[in-house]
């Protein structure tokens, strides 16, 4: 992926829920091999933007182009998504969960699936042989397993919505370290978070959102002048 072509292009994206406009015309380009932190207050539209990128939302108007395609279905194999709920089945173990989700991406036992799954679980710092159901994990472990699920298909683009929420510091730092390594391998990562300080050194760019628009993009963790507030 060359540095000059954007991997994600958003063009005047508008998303309305009835009378409420969650996204009021977002236009931006995002490039490969970078880690973007999307910040802003509640209601700024961060989650809506991420869900639209993940194909879970249809835009009211505007265009989204990911990896050269405007139809999410064509590139869904290359995208990984993670949110604050774990997107895992509480009654199954980590391996069982990932074994199932791997199938959805065409990774089966015949394609060395088990190895891939074990490797991905190890990479997030968890034990693949843990038979405990995911529902009994701590929040930190659960989020790490959820991240493992998002990484299963070796996606080129990772969309993470509040991955560090209620997560202990150790797990959070581990995740950030892993994400930075993933970014170094050339993947593009979008992280929506309220805990910007965690990404202070890992993020390549901070994208600030307010009231459904991008109000600034900075290289450092400092809120753009227009909003008149300093970073938390």
């Amino acid at each position: 992926m060359t540095e000059t072509e954007p991997v994600v292009t958003v063009s005047n994206l508008i998303k309305q829920f009835g009378r409420f406009a969650a996204l009021r015309g977002v236009t931006a380009e995002f490039f490969g091999g970078k880690l973007y932190a999307i910040l802003g207050d509640n209601g700024a539209g961060k989650t809506t933007l991420l869900r639209t990128l993940a194909g879970l939302n249809q835009p009211s108007s505007g265009e989204v182009t990911i990896l050269g395609s405007s139809k999410f279905h064509d590139i869904c194999q290359q995208v990984g998504y993670m949110a604050h709920p774990s997107l895992l089945y509480d009654e199954m173990s980590g391996m069982e969960n990932l074994d199932y989700f791997a199938r959805l991406y065409g990774i089966t036992s015949s394609t060395r699936g088990a190895e891939v799954i074990r490797a991905v679980i190890l990479s997030v710092g968890l034990d693949p042989d843990l038979v405990r159901p995911v529902g009994q994990y701590s929040q930190g472990m659960r989020q790490r397993m959820s991240l493992a699920r998002a990484l299963l298909n070796d996606p080129k683009i990772l969309l993470l919505d509040e991955p560090f929420s209620n997560v202990d510091t150790h797990s959070a730092t581990e995740m950030v370290r892993l994400l930075a390594r993933t970014r170094d391998q050339g993947k593009t990562i979008f992280i929506v978070t309220h805990q910007a300080s965690l990404l202070e050194h890992a993020a390549d760019e901070f994208v600030w959102m307010e009231s459904g628009k991008i109000v600034g993009r900075t290289r450092e963790l400092k809120r753009p002048a227009s909003s008149g507030e300093t970073a938390r």
Partner: protein, 230 residues
Amino acid sequence: MKKAFPILGVLTAILLIYALYMALVWAPTERTMGNVQRIFYYHVPSAWTAFILFFVNFVASVVYLIKRRPAADIVALVSAEVGVVFCTVVLVTGPIWARPVWGIWWTWDMRLTSTLVLWLIYVSYLFLRRFSSSGQTPALAAALAVLGALCVPFVYFSIWFFRTQHPQPVMGGGGSIDPRMLHVLLINWLAFSCFAFLVCWSRYRLEKLQRDVDHAHASASLLDPRGSGR
């Protein structure tokens, strides 16, 4: 377009009055049931009108599923609402007719029973429209409408066979019908259809206006988020 509405309104009113006269005065009195039978001229055309409206609902829903045009969704909504009203007329005139003639309030007559099931299906459609949140309603409702419409032949077939196995009093139109009665029937049907069309048109305009207002609010909130509310 706007001028046509009052003209059509007047024409429909005249037609309805004429049809009423035909039904209550001009039509011959039925031999066995007497004047009570005249309700037949409301009972049957209402059923036919409801049927047409539900068919319109089916077509509009299919169009919406393929083309996603908002106008198709409004037509589907409107035709279902007015169709349910006409269906209700059938279900109310049925017992009014049955009681003096057969001494019972309800008969599992084929038309009445089928209309009841149709009524249930389209009322459930209206419930779905009310209970789903605004963004998804058109698509979900259209899917339900298609399933409901496909159910209709099954409803008629099953009740027809059931009735031949368990015969019930038949409400009108059993054998051959006096040509004068048929004439009155058709006139009433024409009047009802015009009336239905007018009501649908009116409701369509109302709904379109409501959606335009919502759209304007939404556009306003695009410019100024503080002024918007959910």
